[in-house]
Symmetry: C2
Subunit: 559 residues, 2 copies
């Protein structure tokens, strides 16, 4: 629907369209689109409501906060987002982060949403979206794969009906296995139903135009609720239920900038300090998640993602959301999997809040656990290890580092992964491939541009190879692949020229690209000579070696 940029537009029209992407598609919105979108919206809505309840459980907040977080995001993103297929709302990963930074306290969670929104807006306005380019594929894959395992296992306790299981993954595994004998039998039946439902079930014929698995969640939760209700009516309740949920829309209130506690208030500064690293991790992971999903859809449905615009959209959504008691939200992996327009979906959330909350108390926790597990399991990608082994083995390092550390703490995993891939990147810049051929003279060909960390390395290689033979050989530096050069590298070459000159051998340059030639001429190197091709350079170098350094040189050495 969003084609490439029209060439005839004025700059302000383009700017408006960039900042308010809704202007791009609204004029062309048709009745057919509306019909499709309503159907899709209802489907997504049926996924969003049970997921919202489930994710609030992951975040350690009362379930209604999941719903409060689900409706502002969609409206804002609908106006400002660049990927119309993405819906913002609570997600498994974000809920996991919220649970680690907000102490299961809604006050902190809502303030975190507000502050994350401010940070994302600021980053968007400062055009810091390019920072996301530095999160490589292996890091994203490692992170999502590990998160899918962590989040799934986190729900096992709800399926088994265990209580008081610690949050830390390894302790959780240990405790869950140790106390597996305490399992309640009834709850563990439900998730089986979810997993058994096929991806394209024969029932629910009304939803044939849209992808069906998303309605599955609603059906499972509905069925589980009915079972729980029948137990309730019969007087015995073996299931752990969600419990009562306050009815009605959240009030429009500014986010809480302090918190009343029995013996006074916790001031704003103290709350910020308590959340600590969360203020960096939550906004960044939020944008990362959204952009990762948005990109996947953009390539499927043919439009482009502007990371800065995504930052603005997410920032606004979190900022406004915090006025409606939302906790930090982001684009979701599971929910977005149906091509959805957001209006009907939000309406469904609002309707649920207004009329259905009294029914939510009958939803068993095990059913919500099943919803979560079926949402995050597809995020695990086992094939990536084999693919990287074949395509680029070095990329296994950031993948494994991220994957393993994410079991300890998600944020450490991501940070370590980004750091490791950054180090590998810098290493490849510092040690570019350098081909050395010996053809009477030494022909040295750097495989890429020369940046400062490579300056010494190049110097060492050339000096070593040139002086290794007896008599020492002249050198041709073929700069064919060198498209830029910086001052440190120029200084390195100047030293090398002097050095080799002292040994009576020459260094000539060939195939210089224009910017590199300009830089070298501006630096006024002593004894700098260059030729268009290495044949000519070779001739000149040989001439010099046979004792005519001064002759035929375009620039004479002045030492």
């Amino acid at each position: 629907m969003w084609g490439p940029r029209q060439p005839g537009q004025r700059w302000w029209q383009r700017a408006m369209r960039r900042r308010l992407p809704v202007l791009g598609w609204l004029p062309r919105y048709s009745l057919t689109c509306l019909r499709l979108d309503v159907t899709a919206g209802i489907t997504v809505g049926l996924t969003v409501v049970p997921q919202a309840l489930a994710y609030a459980e992951v975040a350690g907040l009362p379930v209604q906060y999941g719903l409060y977080s689900s409706f502002v995001g969609c409206f804002v993103y609908c106006l400002l987002g660049t990927a119309k297929d993405v819906t913002l709302g609570p997600t498994a990963i974000m809920s996991l982060l919220v649970s680690s930074y907000t102490f299961h306290d809604p006050t902190y969670a809502v303030l975190l949403a507000f502050l994350s929104g401010c940070i994302q807006l600021a980053m968007g306005l400062l055009h810091l979206g390019f920072l996301l380019d530095f999160v490589s594929c292996p890091v994203i894959k490692g992170f999502t794969s590990a998160a899918s395992i962590t989040i799934s296992f986190n729900q096992v306790k709800n399926i088994l009906g265990l209580q008081g299981i610690p949050r830390q993954f390894f302790l959780q595994v240990y405790e869950t296995l140790r106390r597996i004998g305490e399992t309640r039998s009834a709850p563990s039946l439900h998730p089986c139903c979810t997993q058994v439902l096929p991806d394209s079930p024969p029932f629910a014929p009304g939803f044939q135009c849209c992808s069906l698995p998303s309605a599955r969640n609603a059906l499972v939760v509905l069925a589980a609720g009915l079972v729980a209700y029948s137990f309730q009516v019969s007087g015995s309740q073996p299931l752990m239920l969600t419990g009562s949920v306050p009815r009605g829309l959240p009030p429009f209130d500014p986010p809480p900038f302090s918190k009343a506690v029995p013996n006074g208030t916790v001031p704003f500064g103290r709350m910020v300090q308590d959340m600590g690293a969360g203020l960096a991790v939550v906004p960044l992971v939020g944008v990362l998640e959204t952009v990762a999903i948005a990109k996947a859809f953009a390539s499927q449905n043919d439009y482009r993602i502007d990371a800065n615009q995504e930052l603005l959209a997410m920032g606004t959504a979190n900022l406004l959301g915090s006025f409606f008691s939302s906790y930090p939200i982001t684009g979701s992996f599971g929910r977005t999997a149906v091509n959805a327009q957001t209006g009907p979906q939000c309406t469904l959330v609002l309707l649920s809040l207004a009329y259905l909350t009294s029914l939510f108390c009958y939803i068993p926790k095990a059913a919500l656990a099943a919803v979560i597990i079926s949402a995050v399991i597809p995020m695990f990608d086992a094939r990536i290890f084999r693919t990287l082994w074949r395509v680029k083995r070095l990329d296994l390092i950031p993948l494994c580092v991220t994957f393993l550390l994410c079991f300890w703490e998600v944020q450490y995993g991501i940070m370590a992964g980004v750091l490791v891939s950054g180090i590998l990147l810098l290493y490849s810049v510092a040690r570019p491939p350098i081909k050395v051929l010996e053809q009477g003279v030494l022909l040295v060909q750097p495989g890429s541009s020369l940046h400062f960390p490579a300056a010494d390395h190049l110097q060492d290689i050339i000096r070593d190879r040139a002086l290794a033979a007896s008599p020492p050989r002249s050198v041709i530096l073929d700069c064919h692949h060198v498209s830029t050069i910086d001052y440190t590298a120029v200084v390195g070459l100047a030293e090398l020229l002097q050095d080799l000159h002292k040994h009576g051998i020459s260094l000539v340059f060939c195939s210089l690209q224009d910017p590199v030639l300009r830089a070298l001429l501006a630096a006024d190197l002593e004894g700098f000579r260059h030729f268009p091709s290495w044949e000519e350079a070779g001739e000149a170098a040989m001439r010099h070696t046979h004792g005519c350094w001064q002759a035929g040189a375009p620039r004479e050495p002045g030492e």
Copy 2:
């Protein structure tokens, strides 16, 4: 004296020579060398003694610590260092750092030397020397230029005879100017003498074989001492003197791991905590300074510097030094300027400690100030700004950031400079130059290897340009300059292939280097076709555009 590696040596001989560079030159050491070296050593010694006293003053320590720090370093470096022209000892910059981290307390200073030594040794053993490659020329220039101004101005108070001037540069300038009326007239005469002494003075004929400016310091200090002594004898003393210096060599004692204070002891952990960032900054700046100087001499005198070996040498020197009450030492800019052997110099320091300390009390502080100023002024390089403007304007950013921030705190300046040049480096990797030619088809030529931060950028450029025309144009990706590619970039190209295929246009690759071709084949891209030259690729792309996608393709798209 240290030529290139001999090809006939066994690996263990080479390893020994690498770890104990002294083995390389000792067998070839002759009587002539000895005579030259003794002369040079005495000259340097005459510089070292007054400088040691002066630098201790900069570090805020009793002057004898300057001498204690001056003799172990030379011996150790003589055995382990790779640059035989460098002498280790107290330096202006290191003294400045020591004064900020050790609270003018010798206990802390000696412990810092010990810990810095351990850190440097560990870095050397872990082969982390390559980290120094990431400190670019502009950062070093900015740092040394700013340090020369800071250190010089720091001495103005001693020349003017002012007391109680704050340490922070801007406050110092303000206070010094405000209180300039309190200047004592006598001290300010001395520095003039130093500056007036010509670079090659007609007196001191005995030192003709070595560079003369270095003996100048000793002459000035001697003359100033005589003047001060004559004042003392005549009963009036207008000069600020160094004061009494304890006589004799420092005891051989382990460094202090705790400190006795009036009300108990400060434990080791507390002392480490007090020094904080100093434990990172001091060892790193130490190595940086040494390597920078060593490199300068290496290129002049034709040998190579091994950064890891430098780390080992400096680490050992600091570690052993701390047993002789040394504070952290490093290679110096000023002192090293004469080609010096270290034995005689160290002997001179030891002789001074044994016999001359009682005379040191007559040295006026203003004379030491003059010694320092004349040592650091040549470090200021004003031309670098003009050079960078001509050669590479972008490099002015790290230069200016480092230069300006160094006035605030030296360590912040260096860190910010390294950070900024790292960011510029990453930026150039993330946005490589990409040439786009339109010749019926679109010929896209990335100027360097494709790393993950550039994946999206390349994708955007190609998609935009290909779809901008109507009908959309097929694309030839000329990977001539691409020598490596990582998984994220491969994924980006896979997405791009699918994307363009959806628009009915083709993307063909040409001039692939072997490693890149292997990676792309291993990734099993849908619709991947490649040709050795762009003429063939162009033909294939045009054929496809005219509706024969399936025909003639080496690999058929499977979608």
